[in-house]
Symmetry: C2
Subunit: 612 residues, 2 copies
C-alpha cells in the first residue's frame, strides 16, 4: 500500500483516522458520557428559560413576576410527561426512534418529512441559540466584551465545527466534564440561595427596573406567551431517544436510565432557578442573564464562585450546541438514505458524509448568528416551532405504533403517548399563535420549503434510476474515436499528450487557433519533428477569440460522425506548489465547462507534473 497522498493526509488531519468495523463498538456511550453528550441541550436550557418567562411578563410590570412560578410548575409537569412519553419510544425503537422514523413508519411519509424538516431547523437553531446564550454568560461577567458578541459566537461555532469533524468519541471524552461541572454549579447556587433565603440573609439583586417595564394589562395572551417562551426549557428532551444506538449494550436500558436522570435534573434546576429569581427579585436584561444576576447576589459580586458559575454556563451551552452536531448529520444521513437529501449526506463507510452534515449545519447556524446579531432573545421566536412539531408528530406516531403492535399493556402505552401528543400539540398551537408575528413565520415558511426540496430530490433520484435501468437496454454501437488536442504551441506537455492520444486512436488531430501568423509558421515547422502520426489542424479566428473557433470545430467533428466518440485531450499542468495552481489550467477549465453539455464528447486530462 502506498503512503497516504496529500489528499488522504489532509483528510486524516481534519477527520481523524478511519475506524475499522470490528472496533466500532468502542465508540459507544456509557450512561455517564451519554448524559454528558445527549442531555446538555435539555439541561442547559435552564440557563435561559426563566429569563424568557420574566422578560415576557415584564411588559405588564414587575408585579406580574409572581406568575413565573405557576408557569414554571406547569412547564416542569409537561417536561415530565414528555420525558415519560419518550421513554416508551426508546423501548419500542431500540435502534433509534427519532421523530422522522416514528412519524414516517406510523403516520406516513409526509408526516416523516415534516418531522425531519422541523428537526433540521430545530438543530440549526439549537446551535445558534445555545452559542448565543453561552456568549451572553461571558458578556454578563465581562461587559467590555459585549461589542464582540457576534465574533465570539462565530469563534465558538468554528471550534465546535472542527471538533466534530474529528469525530464523536473525542467529543464524549472532551465534553463529559462540563455537563457535571454545570449541574454541580447550579445545584450549589440553588443550595446556597435557598440557605440564605431560609436564614433570612437573602438580599435582592438590585437591578434597576428597565424602561421597557410597562403597565400593560396581564392578559391571557401575555400569560400564554410567557408560557410558550418558558417551554424552551423542554427543548432537547428527544435527544436521548434519537441516540439509543449510540449507547453501550443494553442500549435501551442505558438510554432509558439516562433520560430519567436528565428529566429529574432539568426539572429540579429549572424550578430552583425560577423560585430563586422570584425571591432575589431578578429583572432580566439584554446585557446580563438572570443566572448571572442570581450568582452575583448569592455568591458575591465578581467572586471566584461567581465566575465558576458563568464558566460552567458557557461550557454547557456550547456543549448543547454540540448535541446538534451529533444529531443533524445523523438525521441527514437517514433522510438521505431514503433518497430525500443529496447522497453526500449518506454515510457510506467513512466519516465524509457526517462531515458534510457538520459543514452545512455550521453554515446555516452562522447565518442565523450574523443575521440576528447573536441575540438569544431575537432567535427565540424561531426556535420552538420546529421542536414542538417534531414532539407532536413523534408522540402521535407512537400512539399508532401501539395500536398496530397490540403487545401486552399497549393501551397504557398508547394512553401515555396520546396524552403526550395532545399536550405537545396544544403547546405547538400556543407557540404558533403567540410567536408567529415575532419571527416564527420564517420557520413556518421554511419547513414546507424544505419538504419541497426533499420531494424534488427524491423525484430526481427516481428519474435517474429509471434512466439508468438496464432492463431493455441495448448499448449504442460506437466504434470510431476522434481524438482532438487543443494546443497553444508545441512543448513537452503537448508531445506527451500526443503520444498518449496515439495510444487511444488512429485519428488524432492537434487543433491550433491562429491569432497571429508568425507563431503559426513556427508551429507548422515544429510539427514536422514532433507531430508523429497525428494531424495538425489550424483554425482561423476572425474574432481573435480562442474558444469560439475551437468549439465550432468540435461541433463540425461531431456532425461528421454523430454516433461516434469525440475525445478531447487537455494537457494539464500539475504544479509542485499549491499557489502555482492559480497560474495554470484556467483555459482547460473553460474548455471543460463549455463541453459539459455536448453528448458523446469525452474530456480527458493528461497530467504533466512540474517539479518546481
Amino acid at each position: 500500500m502506498t503512503e497516504p497522498s496529500g489528499f488522504a493526509g489532509l483528510k486524516r488531519l481534519l477527520l481523524g483516522k478511519p475506524i475499522p468495523s470490528h472496533l466500532a463498538h468502542h465508540e459507544r456511550l456509557s450512561r455517564v458520557t451519554g448524559l454528558a453528550v445527549l442531555s446538555s441541550d435539555a439541561l442547559s436550557s435552564v440557563a435561559y428559560a426563566t429569563d424568557f418567562i420574566l422578560a415576557t411578563l415584564l411588559v405588564a410590570g414587575v408585579s406580574a413576576f409572581g406568575y413565573a412560578i405557576p408557569i414554571s410548575l406547569v412547564i416542569a409537569a409537561l417536561l415530565a410527561i414528555v420525558a415519560f412519553s419518550y421513554r416508551q419510544t426508546i423501548h419500542a425503537y431500540p435502534t433509534g426512534g427519532g421523530a422522522y422514523i416514528v412519524a414516517k413508519e406510523n403516520i406516513g411519509p409526509m408526516a416523516g418529512l415534516i418531522a425531519a424538516a422541523s428537526l433540521l431547523v430545530d438543530y440549526t437553531l439549537t446551535v445558534s441559540v445555545s452559542i448565543s446564550a453561552g456568549v451572553l454568560a461571558i458578556t454578563s461577567a465581562a461587559p467590555q466584551l459585549q461589542q464582540y458578541r457576534v465574533e465570539l459566537c462565530l469563534a465558538f461555532l468554528v471550534v465546535l465545527m472542527l471538533g466534530n469533524l474529528r469525530g464523536i468519541r473525542e467529543s464524549g471524552q472532551i465534553f463529559a466534564v462540563p455537563t457535571y461541572f454545570f449541574v454541580v454549579s447550579i445545584m450549589v447556587l440553588i443550595g446556597a440561595g435557598l440557605l440564605r433565603y431560609v436564614t433570612g440573609t437573602a438580599a435582592p439583586v438590585g437591578t434597576p427596573v428597565p424602561p421597557e417595564a410597562g403597565h400593560a394589562p396581564l392578559t391571557t395572551f401575555l400569560l400564554l406567551t410567557a408560557f410558550a417562551n418558558g417551554c424552551t426549557a423542554m427543548t432537547g428532551v428527544e435527544a436521548v431517544s434519537n441516540g439509543v444506538p449510540a449507547f453501550r449494550p443494553p442500549e435501551a436500558k442505558n438510554a432509558s436510565a439516562t433520560l430519567v436522570a436528565m428529566a429529574v435534573l432539568a426539572i429540579v434546576m429549572f424550578i430552583g432557578i425560577t423560585f430563586l429569581a422570584h425571591v432575589y427579585l431578578v429583572i432580566p436584561k439584554a446585557e446580563e442573564s438572570g443566572v448571572s444576576q442570581l450568582a452575583r447576589a448569592i455568591l458575591g459580586n465578581r467572586t471566584i464562585a461567581y465566575y465558576l458559575v458563568q464558566a460552567a454556563t458557557t461550557l454547557i451551552l456550547v456543549l448543547a450546541a454540540n448535541t446538534a452536531y451529533a444529531d443533524f448529520p445523523r438525521l441527514a444521513s437517514i433522510v438521505s438514505r431514503d433518497g430525500y437529501l443529496p447522497r453526500q449526506f449518506m454515510n457510506q463507510g467513512d466519516r465524509l458524509a457526517f462531515s458534510n452534515g457538520i459543514l452545512v449545519l455550521s453554515a446555516f447556524a452562522a447565518v442565523l448568528i450574523v443575521v440576528f446579531r447573536g441575540d438569544t432573545q431575537s432567535l427565540l421566536p424561531l426556535y420552538m416551532i420546529g421542536v414542538f412539531i417534531s414532539f407532536t408528530l413523534s408522540q402521535a406516531g407512537m400512539v399508532i405504533h401501539w395500536r398496530h403492535t397490540r403487545e401486552p399493556g399497549w393501551r397504557t402505552s398508547a394512553a401515555i403517548n396520546g396524552f403526550g401528543a395532545i399536550v405537545t400539540g396544544v403547546v405547538l398551537i400556543i407557540v404558533a399563535v403567540t410567536k408567529t408575528l415575532e419571527g416564527a413565520w420564517i420557520v413556518l415558511l421554511l419547513i414546507p420549503l424544505i419538504v419541497a426540496v426533499f420531494k424534488a430530490t427524491r423525484r430526481h433520484y427516481s428519474h435517474v434510476a429509471e434512466q439508468l435501468t438496464l432492463k431493455g437496454y441495448a448499448p449504442p454501437v460506437r466504434r470510431h474515436n476522434t481524438v482532438l488536442i487543443p494546443i497553444g504551441g508545441i512543448q513537452r506537455a503537448v508531445v506527451e499528450a500526443l503520444r498518449y492520444a496515439e495510444s487511444l486512436s488512429d485519428d488524432v488531430r492537434a487543433v491550433y487557433v491562429d491569432t497571429d501568423p508568425a507563431p503559426t509558421a513556427q508551429i507548422e515547422r515544429d510539427w514536422n519533428t514532433w507531430g508523429g502520426k497525428s494531424r495538425l489542424v489550424v483554425l482561423e479566428s476572425p474574432f481573435r477569440s480562442l474558444m469560439e473557433p475551437l468549439l465550432e470545430y468540435i461541433g463540425q467533428v461531431e456532425d461528421e460522425r454523430p454516433d461516434d466518440y469525440v475525445t478531447i485531450i487537455l494537457p494539464e499542468f500539475v504544479p509542485a506548489r499549491w499557489w502555482q495552481h492559480l497560474l495554470h489550467n484556467q483555459r482547460a477549465l473553460l474548455i471543460k465547462g463549455a463541453l459539459l453539455f455536448r453528448p458523446n464528447v469525452v474530456v480527458t486530462s493528461v497530467p504533466f507534473h512540474l517539479t518546481k
Copy 2:
C-alpha cells in the same frame, strides 16, 4: 456553426458580443468622450481636495484656514507642471506610456515593477475613495441615508463592475454626459458664488465649529500635512497619457489636447472652490462635504440647484472610479504579458482577461470599502503613496528616455521631465513623512509584497518554460494502457463507460469496493451479462471506506508497470438542470482530487446525459 452553448450564452450575456478585428477602431475615443472617460478622476478630486486641506488645518483652529489659499495655489502650480511633463510622455509614447512601461524601458525592470505595483494599488484606491466620496455627496444631501453608507458604496461598486464587464465602448457613451454635467455645475456654483461675493451678498455657511477644532500650534509639519492632503487634487493626471492608444487617430494629438483641457479645468475648479470655501467660511464635517455646504450657502438650502450639484458630484465620482476600471485591467494585461502576473490577466483575443482584472479590482476595492466603513477621510492616507511613486518613476524614466534619444530639443524636454520628477519626488517624501503613521504604512508594505508576487510568478513561468523545452527531449516510450473504472453498481452509465473504455485498450478492469456481501453478489451476477471483454475486480474494505481500497489498488497497478499509462474512467452525470449538479458526481470529484498528484495516471470523464 452550432448555436452558442449554455456557457457561451452566459458569457455573451455577461460580457457582450465579441468584437471582430476589423471593427476594433470603432471602439476608439474622440476628444469629447476621451475627456469624459479619462479625466473624471482628475476633475472629480476637486470635490474633496479642499475639504482635506481644511480638515487638516482645523486642528490649529479655524483661524488657520487662511493658509488654504496659498497651499492650493502651490498645488495648482504642481498640477500644471505634472500635466506639462506628461504631455511629453504622450508624444514620446504614442502607443501608451504608462508609468510601468516608461520606468521599465528607461530605468530598469525593478523600477517598472515598483511602478506597476504602485499603480495597481492606486487604481484600487481610486475606486474606493471615489465611490466613498460620491456616496458622501448623497448622504450630505440626504443625511438619513448616512447609516447605509457602506451598502450604498457596495451597490455602486456592483453597478460599475457589471457595466465594465460589458465593455469600454458602452462606458464611454453612458458616461460622457456626467463629466460635462459636473464641470458645468461646478462652474455655475463658482460663478454664482463669486457674483454674490462681488455684490456683497455672500453669507457664511454657518456651520458650527466642531469639537475637534483645536488650538494646536501651526507647525511646518501641519502645513506640510495639509499640502500632502491637498495633493489628492493631482490624482488621475496620468490617465490620459496611459490611454493614448484608446484615442482616435491622430492619437497623440487628440490625447495631448485632452490633457491640456483637463488640467485647465481641474486648476480652475480647485482654486475656485478653495477660494469660495474661504469666503463662505466652510468648515469640513464628516457628515457633509464642503461642496455641499458651499452649494447650500450659494444656491440655497434644499433647492433644485443644490440637488443638481450633489447629483453631478456623485456622478463624476462614480465615473472617476470607472477610470480605474479601464486602467487596472489594461495594466494587469501588460504586466501579465511580461510574465509577472498570472496568464488569466493577459488579453488573448476575447474580453475574458479584462473581465478577470475587473473582478479582482472589484474584490479588493470592496474589501477596502468594508474595512474603512466607506469613510473617505480614513482611506485618504493610503491613497497618495502609490500615485506619487508612479509619477516620480514615470518622470524620471522620461529624463533617461530623452538622454537616450537625443532628438532635437531633447535638453528642454529632459529639463521639463526632470523638474516634474523632482517636484513629484519631493511631494512623495512629504506624503510618506506626514501620512505613514496614519495608514500609509499599509501601502508601503503592500507594494514590496506585490513586487515579490510579480517576481515569484515570473520565476515560476520561466521554470515551466525550462521544463517544457523540446531541446534534447526524448519522449518516454509507453505502450500499455491499463483502464480502470471504479463502479458502485452496474447501470447504463457504467455500461456506456465500459464500452468507451474498451475502445481505448484491451486491458479494462471495473473496480468495485465490497462493503456489503449482498449487493456484491448481485454485481457479480450482472457482470456476466454486461461485462463484455472487461474484468471485474472486487476489493475488500476493512475500514468501510470506498476511497482507500481504490487508491491502494491504483497504486498496485502503477507498481506493476511503472512506465506505462493508467487511465481512470469515471462515468459522470450531466444533469438537465443546474441544481441537480448538487446531487451527483461528488465522489468522482474526490477521486480526481486524490489522483491529481499521481504521475502517469490519466483521468477521463465519460458523460451520461440525464434528460430530466
